[in-house]
Each structure stands twice: as structure tokens, then as C-alpha cells.
């Protein structure tokens, strides 16, 4: 139940249309109904959905769809275009002030991820832009908020400015700027306490900080799991502070993330970064088009592909794809892939990006644990060449030998062989997914992208 992607949702209607010469108004109505439900299930705000549907209807009823041979895909394309348009282009630039330091202020609801993102941004500024930021602890309310930021500062080996919990956040911010100037920090990132957009006193506090330190950027940090209320929050923070951009956090989860659309629609401010994990290097540029796919339930396949591509060269990728298609993927390939996969980041992060992967039973049980990788390598290395090419010959006595040779157990060997066959199945599923676009271009492509 629930949370089917748009493509699934449209299956029924598409079937009906296929073979028909024309698409009737009624068909379009049915399709837009499904689009509406898909968007609402993805947490896009009700009013935003209304506006979108109106536009989509207009385009869908027009020639485009009617004359197209594959109206279903055409509708999806129209929807995706509209979503992508609404979200605007990619914008992950951070302002640079004419006179150092550049000041960034982090604001948002409780628990959204401000403090963590403060650390991530600092890391990003140093790594990508060779900057030297100062972190400022202006959250004097939440228990241990200062310790949290200080711990991040230690992890990053970066300075953190704080005046304890008794000081006034406005004073803290002002003094921090003075210190940054003295110590030649070219960026100042101010972490503020989480607050409700309807909390007048605390919103006023932010306005005061803003008036005093004149930040070059005010980033609203929003949890990507936010539901319908995202519009109220974003609208209100924007009205009161005139934010300059948005950071969407916890996108490493499996939420559709319709809040992204809602926020963009009501603030018209760019979503600049995406939080992709709890660690300080897990911040990425925000990709509107991928977000559109994700909201429509088409998975974040592009991100996965990009990750794969930065680690695997083109030729290898082609070979792999060929092997996946012909199912001739062997343990040797597995071993080779593992090396590359290890460079791509945590495995469960990667898995989470595959559409429907959380629904695949086999995968869940597969437990591709980072710490098990070494074990897996040892097991494969203990296999004979023949066994690696043709796993089906690995019988009981061979399993015992492999277990002994790799210093593991028969259970571990069994598990790996099972995982391997599950992985092959998954690859088959993935290659099946691209059947829709067969023949075109080749490469690692998925439907509707």
C-alpha cells in the first residue's frame, strides 16, 4: 500500500490508453488525479499541488500528449518538467562578502539539523574553497548545544566562539565577528537555537542578530521529512528574515521530500545544499531535477549513477552493464566492484538511493555491512578460478574448504553465496527497469530520465 511512484500510479490509465488513437479529456482527468495523489503522498503542500495540477492539465490536454505515441510517459515528462521548472536551476554558490569576514547565519525549527550543517558548511568551505571559518555558538537554550558545536569544532580542528549559556545571543554574534576580524577568519558561521516560526520573542532575537551582524547569507535549514507544514515554516521564516537560501537535511532517508517543492514555491529562494548523512562530509549540492524524480518516486538513481561514474570509468561501466544484462556477472567482477564500491561511500547510503530497494526483501536481509566487506574479500579470494566464474559448482565440501581457507565459517560462505545470487537478481530488476528505453543511447539509463 501507499507510496507508489507516479509511474506505478499511472500504469492503469496508461494501459487503457495504449492502442487508442486519441487521449480523451476523461483520460487526462484520470491521469491528473493520479498525479495529484502522488504529489500529496510525497508531502507536496496541498495548495502547491493545486497550482501545479492546473498547469499540468493545461499542458497535458494540449497537443503534446494527445499526439504522442506514449502518452503515459509524456504525462510523466510534463509533470517532471513542471516540477523541475518550479524548483529552478542548480545553485550551490555561497556568497563572498566584499570585506572579510563573510557571515552566514543558520536558522530553522528545532532539530532540523542546523548545528550539524554548520559543521558541514565549515568543512565544505575549507575543503572546496580553502577558507578558514569561525563557528559561533549562539544557541544558549538547548542543553549541551554549545558542547555539541565545540565537539564538531574539535573534530574539524576549527575554532568555535562561545560565551557560555548566560550571554545574550546578539552579543555573542557581535563579539564573534570582532574576533574573526582579529584572527583573520574569512567566514563566520552562526549556529542559532531551534525555534518555532510563531515564537515572536525568539524570532525577534534573530532579527536583532541580523540587524547587527548583517549576514551575507541566511540559510533556513529544513528537515526533508517535513509534511504539509513546510509552507508555513518557510513562508514565516522568509517573511521575518528574508532568508537567502535553504538547506534540506536528512535526504539520506527514504522520504519523498515533497517539502522541497513547497518551500521553493512559497519562498522562491534557492535550495542550495542537501544533507546526506550525519557525518561532516555528507553535504552535497542540491540537484533540482533529481529531486523532481525523487518526489515522483523514481528514486535518486541519478545520484547513484553519478557516484558510480566518479569512481568507475566509462569503459568499465559499460562492461558492467553488459554483464548485468547477460547475467554473466561473476565473483571476480564482484571482487572488483567491491573495491570501487568501497570508495563510493557507505553501502547503505548507496542502497537507499536505489528506487524500491527498501522494499526488496532480499536486500534487507543481505546486510551488506561495511565491516563484512573484508570477510567477503577473504572468502572470494579463497575460491578457485572456476568457482568464481561458476558459483553453482560450490558444493558442501567446497564450502568447507573455502571457509577454512578464508578463516571464516561455512555459514559466512553460505551467506555470501546467497547474497551474491540476490545481488544478481537485483541487477536483473535494475536492467529490467530500463527496458522501456531500450536501444536509445545505451549507458546506464533509467526510465523517464
Amino acid at each position: 500500500m501507499a507510496f507508489e511512484g507516479l509511474a506505478d500510479r499511472l500504469q492503469g490509465t496508461i494501459k487503457k490508453i495504449t492502442g487508442k488513437g486519441k487521449v480523451s479529456e476523461q483520460d487526462v482527468k484520470e491521469m491528473t488525479r493520479e498525479v495529484r495523489l502522488a504529489l500529496l503522498e510525497a508531502d507536496v503542500n496541498f495548495k502547491v499541488v493545486k497550482q501545479l495540477i492546473a498547469r499540468i492539465k493545461e499542458r497535458a490536454v494540449g497537443q503534446e500528449v494527445m499526439e504522442s505515441l506514449t502518452p503515459g510517459q509524456q504525462v510523466i515528462k510534463v509533470v517532471k518538467d513542471e516540477l523541475t521548472n518550479l524548483m529552478g536551476g542548480e545553485q550551490s554558490k555561497i556568497a563572498v562578502a566584499d570585506r572579510s569576514p563573510t557571515v552566514i547565519m543558520m536558522v530553522g525549527l528545532q532539530g532540523a539539523g542546523k548545528t550539524t550543517t554548520t559543521g558541514k558548511l565549515a568543512n565544505h568551505l575549507r575543503k572546496k574553497h580553502n577558507r578558514n571559518p569561525l563557528l559561533v555558538a549562539c544557541d544558549v537554550y538547548r542543553p549541551a548545544a554549545i558542547q555539541q558545536l565545540e565537539t564538531l569544532g574539535t573534530q574539524l580542528d576549527m575554532p568555535v566562539f562561545s560565551l557560555g549559556t548566560e550571554a545574550n545571543p546578539v552579543d555573542i554574534a557581535n563579539q564573534a565577528i570582532a574576533q574573526a576580524k582579529e584572527n583573520h577568519n574569512d567566514y563566520v558561521i552562526i549556529d542559532t537555537a531551534g525555534r518555532l516560526h510563531v515564537d515572536e520573542n525568539l524570532m525577534e532575537e534573530l532579527q536583532k542578530i541580523k540587524t547587527d551582524v548583517k549576514p551575507d547569507e541566511i540559510f533556513l535549514v529544513v528537515d526533508s521529512m517535513t509534511g504539509q507544514d513546510a509552507v508555513n515554516v518557510a513562508e514565516s521564516f522568509n517573511e521575518q528574515l528574508d532568508i537567502t537560501g535553504v538547506v534540506l537535511t536528512k535526504l539520506d532517508g527514504d522520504t519523498r521530500g515533497g517539502a522541497a517543492l513547497s518551500i521553493k514555491a512559497v519562498t522562491d529562494k534557492p535550495i542550495k545544499f542537501a544533507g546526506m548523512g550525519e557525518k561532516l562530509d555528507q553535504l552535497e549540492a542540491f540537484h533540482p531535477e533529481r529531486m523532481a524524480s525523487r518526489i515522483l518516486g523514481m528514486g535518486d538513481v541519478l545520484s547513484l549513477i553519478e557516484k558510480a561514474q566518479t569512481n568507475v570509468d566509462e569503459k568499465q561501466a559499460k562492461e558492467l552493464e553488459e554483464k548485468m544484462r547477460t547475467m554473466s556477472f561473476t565473483f571476480d567482477d564482484f571482487l572488483e566492484q567491491m573495491g570501487q564500491v568501497r570508495e563510493m561511500g557507505p553501502l547503505d547510503d548507496l542502497m537507499a538511493m536505489i528506487p524500491g530497494s527498501n522494499k526488496m526483501k532480499g536486500l534487507k536481509n543481505a546486510q551488506l555491512d561495511e565491516s563484512q566487506l573484508t570477510e567477503v574479500e577473504a572468502i572470494i579470494q579463497s575460491m578457485t578460478k572456476k568457482e568464481r566464474q561458476e558459483p553453482s559448482i560450490i558444493n558442501g565440501s567446497r564450502r568447507k574448504r573455502i571457509a577454512k581457507g578464508s578463516g571464516t565459517s561455512v555459514a559466512a560462505v553460505n551467506r555470501l553465496i546467497k547474497q551474491f545470487s540476490e545481488m544478481k537478481k537485483m541487477m536483473k530488476q535494475m536492467t529490467n527497469m530500463q527496458k522501456g528505453k531500450k536501444g536509445k543511447g545505451g549507458g546506464f539509463k533509467f526510465p523517464f530520465m
Binding site: 532539530g111 542543553p143 565537539t151
Partner: protein, 336 residues
């Protein structure tokens, strides 16, 4: 007595039981003043119970994050009920609406499902789980304070060894609630901390041990396994424990909360929900869908960041709250 009257009566009664209700009322004050008014508005605008009426009702519920499929089911049922009772006039429908919603909530059970199921005898263990930043640690602080006020001997275990400052944070809550906190250093094995917590609680003859855990997104298989392991340690050490597994949900969360409830239940057999941040403008309507699909009841609601801002869940008041903005869409449509 009609449903609305019962509801009002309950609130009056609450007023007499002071402190508890005061908080609730503060948190939900807009709600109380406006619910019947708004419902009346809707009803006044739609004399007839027709498609438009149901459409707006649908909007209100979806805007409260109740979730599309639950809303559709509900509206279907309402339509049938309207037919069955031959209701034509919209003024007759308001009781039916509220009753239906509260019905979804309770099913065949009575309101005792919203209480913690803790025994008087022996050490009782509460495991607190949820995704990142929802309010686990804060709710533990509040709950410890309440249990302590009830005369319980409470101990906290700092099972979040991952997030920066998490242990310090729980320690401050321990001080505020005046209860001891068992901790290891950052980066250590959470199961080991919980194990120590149990031993300490046993030797000090504590009544309740509350275990904090690190926030984790439910699609992270390794982290969910780690959580299941923590639970197994508790089960092994104390038969019948944990007595409560509380899943903390942020009221601002949309449809993903349903997935959270499902996955965390699979890993740890969740017995109740703490719905936090209801003091904001979000309604947390998804708990209706969760109750509907997974039968997990809400036990507490969080209404602020203070130590007293935790209240027993009240389904009537909650349903009340879903409608607090009713009629607003009309105003905004006029200005559009």
C-alpha cells in the same frame, strides 16, 4: 449529550484538574477557541452536504498530514454514513465527523491505551527510539521528571554514543529531573551502555530505567540492526523487558512518519508513540494513519522545550486540533 458537548465537558473538567490541563490548553489554546467555530463556519457555508463540502473536508485533513489514503477512506465512510442516516443538512454532520475520527483512533479499545503499561513491581525498562532530531532526549528528560514526581526511582542510560554532545545533553536533563545518568564515553558500544544501565538500575533498586538511543533513519539497515541488538540485550537481562518501546515522532513530519513507525516496529516492536513539537503549527495527523494501519497508540505529546511540556495524549483534543485552521482556506481563497 452530543459529541461536541462531551468534548467541551471534558475540557471543563480538565480545567479543574489544573496544572496538567493548563499546559495542554496553552499548547492548544487556539484550537479550543476555534474548533467549533470553524466547523460551524464550514457548515454554514455549505448548507448542503455535497461534493464541495467533502472536498473541503478532505483538504483540511490532508493539510493536517492525515495522509491521502486515510483521508480518502474516511471521507468514503462519511459519505456512506450520510446516506445511511439520510443526512442532508450540514449541521447534522459535525458530530458524525468528529466521532468517526475519534473512532478510528480508539477502535475497540478504551482510552487506557494511552497510558504507559508499567508494573509496580520490579525494574521497568523504557526504550526510546526514533529518527534524528525528533525529540527523544528531551522527551526522556520530561518523562523522567514526571515519573519522579509520581514517586518513582528513575535512572537514565545514555545510549546515544554517536552524536556530538548527546551524552552531555542527557546529563543536563538528568540534573534537571534530578535522576542519575549512566554513561560511557562517546563512540563506545551502545549495547554496553544499556547493559551497564540495567545493572546499575538493578543494584540501586530503581523502579524505571529509561534508555536513550541515537537518532537513526529507518532505511539504514546497520543502524536498525544495532537497535535490535540493544533491545535483545534488555530482553536477555530482564524477562518481559522492555516494558515500553516508545517511538518519538516529530509532528511536523509528513507521510514518512508512517514508514518510520512500520520499520521501527519491525526492529523493536514499538508499543507507543510520543508525538513532539505539537506546540508549533503542524498537526501530526499522520498518527491517525499509523493508528489505523499499525494499531500503535500515541501515549504522550510534546508541547514545548520545557521540562513540564509533556502531556498524556488525548484523542479528543487531538481531533479538535486537526480542525483548528478550518475555514482559513476560505479566507485565503478570497484574497487569492
Amino acid at each position: 449529550m452530543g459529541f461536541m458537548d462531551k468534548l467541551k465537558a471534558r475540557f471543563k473538567q480538565n480545567e479543574e484538574t489544573k496544572e496538567v490541563s493548563e499546559k495542554y490548553q496553552e499548547g492548544m489554546k487556539k484550537t479550543r477557541d476555534t474548533f467549533s467555530g470553524k466547523l460551524n463556519d464550514l457548515i454554514a457555508r455549505y448548507r448542503k452536504v455535497d461534493e464541495d463540502f467533502f472536498e473541503e473536508l478532505e483538504e483540511v485533513l490532508i493539510t493536517a498530514d492525515v495522509g491521502v489514503s486515510t483521508v480518502m477512506d474516511l471521507v468514503e465512510e462519511l459519505k456512506m454514513e450520510v446516506k445511511r442516516q439520510k443526512i442532508k443538512d450540514s449541521s447534522e454532520i459535525k458530530d458524525v465527523i468528529s466521532e468517526k475520527l475519534v473512532d478510528i483512533y480508539y477502535g475497540d479499545e478504551d482510552s487506557s491505551i494511552q497510558h504507559l503499561q508499567l508494573d509496580e513491581d520490579g525494574l521497568q525498562v523504557i526504550l526510546v527510539v526514533g529518527v534524528n532530531g525528533v525529540g527523544k532526549t528531551t522527551s526522556i528528560g520530561k518523562l523522567a521528571h514526571q515519573l519522579k514526581a509520581d514517586g518513582k526511582n528513575v535512572i537514565l542510560a545514555a545510549g546515544d554514543t554517536f552524536r556530538a554532545g548527546a551524552i552531555d545533553q542527557l546529563e543536563i536533563w538528568g540534573e534537571r529531573a534530578d535522576v542519575p545518568v549512566i554513561k560511557h564515553s562517546e563512540g563506545s558500544d551502545p549495547a554496553a551502555v544499556i547493559y551497564d544501565g540495567i545493572r546499575a538500575a538493578k543494584s540501586r533498586e530503581a523502579d524505571v530505567l529509561i534508555c536513550d538511543t541515537a537518532g537513526r533513519l529507518q532505511n539504514k539497515v546497520n543502524l536498525m540492526n544495532e537497535l535490535a541488538k540493544v533491545k535483545r540485550v534488555i530482553e536477555r537481562e530482564i524477562p518481559g523487558a522492555p516494558h515500553e518501546v516508545l517511538l518519538v515522532l516529530d509532528a511536523t513530519t509528513g507521510q514518512n512518519a508512517l514508514t518510520q513507525a512500520r520499520t521501527f516496529s519491525e526492529a523493536t516492536d514499538v508499543s507507543g508513540i510520543v508525538l513532539t513539537k505539537l506546540d508549533g503549527t503542524a498537526k501530526g495527523g499522520i498518527v491517525l494513519a499509523i493508528r489505523n494501519e499499525l494499531q500503535i497508540p500515541v501515549k504522550y505529546v510534546g508541547l514545548g522545550e520545557g521540562i513540564n511540556d509533556l502531556q498524556q495524549f488525548d484523542a479528543d483534543a487531538f481531533v479538535f486540533g486537526l480542525f483548528s485552521d478550518l475555514g482559513m482556506s476560505e479566507e485565503s481563497e478570497k484574497t487569492e
